[in-house]
C-alpha cells in the first residue's frame, strides 16, 4: 500500500511538471506567432500610402486604410475572425487585442531620424522615416491553474521606411 501511494505521488508530480512544460512551450509558440504576425501586419499597414501626397513627394500613411489592413493581416496570419477572436482550428484560444497602433509620418511635421519613445510599452527606437508602430497582446495560455494570474503575452513591432543614402 505504501508503495502504491509513493507511485501515485510520483505520477502526480510528473503530470504536473509535464503540463507546466507544455504550458511554457505553448507560451513561447504563441509569442513567436504573435511577433511574426505583428511584423507582417505593420509591414502591410505601412504600404497604405496616400497616393495624392505621394505625387507631391510626401510619404503619408492613410490611417484608416492602414488600420484595416493591419487587422486583416492579423486575421489572415493568426486564424482570427473580424473581432480578432480565434476561428475554429486556430492555435489561439483567446482574443488578440490591438493595444497600440501609431503612425509617424510627414503629416506630423517631424524630422527624421527621430527618437521614438513609449515608456508604457517599453519602445525606444531611432526611426529613419515614416513608420507604423503597433503592440498586440493575448492571454497567457493556461493548462494548470495557479493563484497568480500570468501577464498577457504582449509584442511590439515597428515598420519604417528608410531612405537610400
Amino acid at each position: 500500500m505504501d508503495y502504491i501511494i509513493k507511485l501515485a505521488f510520483v505520477l502526480l508530480i510528473f503530470i504536473y511538471s509535464w503540463f507546466f512544460q507544455i504550458q511554457n512551450q505553448e507560451w513561447d509558440m504563441l509569442r513567436s506567432m504573435l511577433k511574426d504576425a505583428n511584423n507582417i501586419a505593420v509591414h502591410d499597414a505601412a504600404q497604405e500610402l496616400d497616393e495624392t501626397e505621394l505625387t507631391r513627394g510626401r510619404l503619408i500613411i492613410d490611417p484608416a486604410l492602414a488600420y484595416d489592413t493591419f487587422q486583416h493581416a492579423l486575421q489572415a496570419n493568426l486564424g482570427l475572425d473580424n473581432g480578432l477572436s480565434p476561428k475554429m482550428g486556430s492555435r489561439f484560444k483567446n482574443q488578440v487585442k490591438i493595444v497600440k497602433f501609431d503612425i509617424v509620418d510627414d503629416s506630423d511635421g517631424v524630422t527624421f531620424p527621430l527618437l521614438y519613445e513609449d515608456s508604457e510599452y517599453g519602445i525606444t527606437k531611432y526611426i529613419e522615416g515614416p513608420s507604423v508602430i503597433a503592440v498586440i497582446e493575448t492571454e497567457h495560455p493556461l493548462l494548470i491553474s495557479r493563484a497568480k494570474t500570468q501577464e498577457p503575452i504582449r509584442v511590439p513591432a515597428v515598420q519604417e521606411y528608410k531612405f537610400n543614402k
Partner: protein, 126 residues
C-alpha cells in the same frame, strides 16, 4: 509476486517519465522551426513579389539541417507569378510530425504534419 508486478509497472512509469518530456520538447522545437521558416520565407517573398526557387531551397536547407528529409517538406504558395505591390501572397510550409508520445494509450489519431502559414502584401515594384 505482487511486489515484482508493481516494480515492473514502475519501470514503465519511469521510462515514460524520462521519455515523454523529451518527445514533447522535440515536437515543440520542430513545430517552432517550421513556423519560423514560414515567417521568414513569407517576408522574403514580399520583396520579390513571389516565392522564388532560391527561397524554397534556403528553407528546405534550413529544415534539412534539423532532420527533415528533403522530399517530405512541402512549400506551396498562392501564386506562381509575380504579384504587384499591395496584392496578397500566401505561403504554406508543412513537414511530417514526429510521434507525440512514446506510447499512444488512446485511439485518437495524432496530427501527422507540422504546419505553417504566412500571408503578406507584396511590395514588388516593377
Amino acid at each position: 509476486m505482487k511486489e515484482t508486478v508493481l516494480r515492473a509497472l514502475f519501470m514503465w512509469l519511469v521510462l515514460f517519465i524520462i521519455l515523454q518530456p523529451i518527445f514533447t520538447y522535440i515536437d515543440y522545437l520542430l513545430d517552432l522551426q517550421v513556423k519560423a521558416n514560414t515567417s521568414y520565407i513569407t517576408q522574403k517573398a514580399a520583396t520579390e513579389g513571389m516565392v522564388t526557387a532560391s527561397m524554397r531551397n534556403e528553407v528546405i536547407s534550413n529544415l534539412k539541417a534539423i532532420g527533415f528529409s528533403e522530399d517530405s517538406i512541402e512549400i506551396t504558395s498562392s501564386t506562381d507569378t509575380i504579384q504587384e505591390r499591395k496584392q496578397r501572397i500566401d505561403v504554406y510550409v508543412t513537414a511530417p510530425r514526429i510521434n507525440l508520445f512514446p506510447y499512444n494509450f488512446s485511439t485518437v489519431s495524432q496530427p501527422t504534419r507540422y504546419y505553417g502559414h504566412g500571408s503578406i502584401m507584396s511590395e514588388y515594384l516593377d
